[in-house]
């Protein structure tokens, strides 16, 4: 009463049939996850490079040039990393992959907010950051095909894409579903932008109070047919800002040795605002509390730097100080 030759798995068993289905589903998700992790890792590395670059502003040297360079690189990250990421995330619950892309996103926010502060002495807004990470589908075709490594226009060129072409299938489905919503309310803005997107991206980092509300609304409705986006949850944004203070601290400390008198004082004030805000959030979110300690340490280091400048400066009239430094640095 025992079946004869069951050497291999019984392919006809409904259990086995079901599990074949589960297998492909799990594999597809895992592959996507891995691709996103890879993109996130690249974003981290490149954002860190932008931050290193921006730290050179501490020395007062070629500040404008550094900022211009940094902006170019930021735009590059958007085009070559975030756009493919947005395509991966298209139609997904972004929170499902948040753990995969959160490290890169936070580092990117750190870089962008650092740039913004150095350029405008102001905190970048969440809406501005979010706006930069919204792309029209045409961008995908225009900008990513030359990039090669990050190509997202066809299945084959997706980094690490599984041979079955699952992800592309996913985005196609979206295309099928949504064209009719393209002309609703905010749709005009969307279709206007794509062509000059590269130039407006720069602006987006800069001015943060305009037309973002509209865009946000658009994200909430299902008019996403023409655009893809990488969600920036407020928490991720804030965690990036918390890390920003570490870079400000480092820059302030380097400024001291460069004799830059203003930066530390200015940065100290700015960091106090961030510090006080985080303090007022309290224990509501554990992630924030965890960063609080580092933030506090950074602030105190900057305060100490300001103090050092103050007591040092006391030994020589202010106007002589700059002189001293221009002398010693040309040495």
């Amino acid at each position: 009463n025992r079946a004869k030759s069951k050497c291999k798995v019984d392919e006809n068993s409904p259990v086995i049939q079901a599990f074949y289905g589960y297998q492909s589903e799990l594999d597809a998700r895992h592959d996507k996850y891995e691709r996103i992790v890879k993109l996130s890792r690249d974003i981290t590395i490149e954002s860190k490079r932008v931050i290193f670059l921006l730290q050179r502003c501490a020395g007062n040297e070629d500040q404008e040039e550094v900022l211009t360079q940094a902006l170019t690189r930021i735009k590059d990250i958007q085009k070559t990393r975030f756009l493919p990421l947005a395509l991966e995330l298209d139609g997904e619950d972004h929170y499902q992959f948040m753990r995969a892309y959160s490290p890169g996103l936070q580092e990117y926010i750190e870089a962008v907010s650092f740039y913004h502060y150095l350029k405008y002495s102001q905190l970048v807004s969440l809406t501005a950051v979010q706006q930069d990470l919204q792309f029209s589908r045409q961008d995908a075709i225009l900008h990513t095909s030359p990039g090669g490594a990050s190509g997202a226009d066809s299945t084959a060129s997706q980094p690490g894409a599984s041979p079955q072409g699952k992800p592309a299938g996913g985005s196609e489905k979206k295309d099928d579903k949504s064209p009719l919503n393209g002309s609703s309310g905010s749709g005009t803005q969307t279709s206007d932008q794509p062509s000059n997107k590269t130039s407006t991206e720069a602006k987006a980092v800069v001015d943060s109070s305009e037309e973002v509300a509209a865009k946000k609304r658009r994200n909430d409705t299902d008019s996403r047919s023409e655009t893809v986006v990488v969600s920036v949850p407020p928490m991720e944004f804030m965690l990036g800002i918390a890390d920003l203070t570490g870079e400000l601290m480092r820059t302030a400390i380097m400024s001291v040795s460069a004799g830059n008198l203003d930066f530390p004082i200015q940065a100290c004030k700015f960091m106090r605002v961030i510090h006080d805000a985080f303090m007022s959030y309290g224990n509501t979110a554990r992630e924030l509390s965890k960063k609080m300690w580092t933030l506090q340490q950074s602030l105190q280091k900057v305060e100490n730097a300001c103090y050092t400048l103050q007591v040092r400066g006391s030994e020589i009239p202010k106007h002589m100080l700059a002189e001293v430094f221009s002398a010693s640095s040309s040495d």
Partner: protein
């Protein structure tokens, strides 16, 4: 001031978030209560042999599954679109437990593996994310593994209760389930760890079958007379 606005916006976000989370937690707590009641009712399966007894048990928990469906409807309403995975951790445990109970009920009634769709229907949730509040594949699979462990216990108690044919059928079923899981390329640590314990369940039932075999207690018909769903 711009900067201040950024921070006060965030405060609002935090507050809203906190409130929403509290509401979700309360809804989940209700579900947990119902799940506990179902589980307690179904424990009766270990005490007595016979299909009528099992069918009776399954019947008894029907109204509780209705309640589950209502409670999931309430919960689902609270979750903003595309934020399922934001709060996932809060209900993950209860949905796994309910998947287990639903799959167990299906097995007791029909001696077959519950389908994903039918399990989801029993809980009043969707199978596909796109269709609304759904049951994650991982959670469904976790439920199946918990069921396997309960069935290995059932095999032991069925013998005591005078149903020596039962372990043979369970052994076959767990064998298939094991083969199924072996096909999966498990990355998820929780699932993989739980799967490791499936091996023990399988072996336990195998040794029950062994005990019966050497004592010639296996009824000749044990492979055939199983009810079909």
């Amino acid at each position: 001031m711009e900067t201040a606005a950024v921070f006060s916006d965030f405060q609002e976000h935090l507050d809203a978030d906190h409130e929403l989370k509290e509401e979700i937690r309360n809804a989940v707590r209700e579900l947990e209560q119902t799940a506990r009641e179902i589980q307690t009712s179904m424990q009766a399966m270990h005490q007595q042999a016979g299909n009528e007894h099992l069918l009776k048990i399954c019947e008894n928990v029907e109204p509780l599954f209705s309640k589950v469906r209502e409670q999931f409807a309430v919960l689902a309403e609270k979750i903003p679109a595309s934020q399922y995975y934001r709060f996932n951790d809060i209900w993950r445990f209860v949905i796994q437990r309910l998947a287990y109970l639903a799959a167990l009920k299906v097995y007791l009634m029909h001696e077959r593996l519950a389908e994903r769709q039918e399990t989801a229907d029993m809980l009043g949730v969707k199978v596909r994310r796109e269709d609304g509040f759904h049951m994650d594949l991982d959670d469904f699979l976790m439920g199946l593994l918990t069921m396997a462990s309960e069935l290995s216990r059932f095999a032991v108690n069925a013998v005591v209760a005078g149903d020596p044919g039962r372990p043979v059928r369970i052994s076959k079923f767990l064998g298939e389930l094991d083969s199924g899981f072996r096909l999966l390329n498990l990355k998820n640590d929780m699932l993989r760890k739980r799967f490791d314990s499936l091996k023990y369940s399988v072996q336990k039932v195998e040794s029950v079958v062994y005990d019966l075999t050497i004592r010639r207690l296996v009824p000749a018909s044990s492979g055939d007379n199983e009810p079909k769903g």
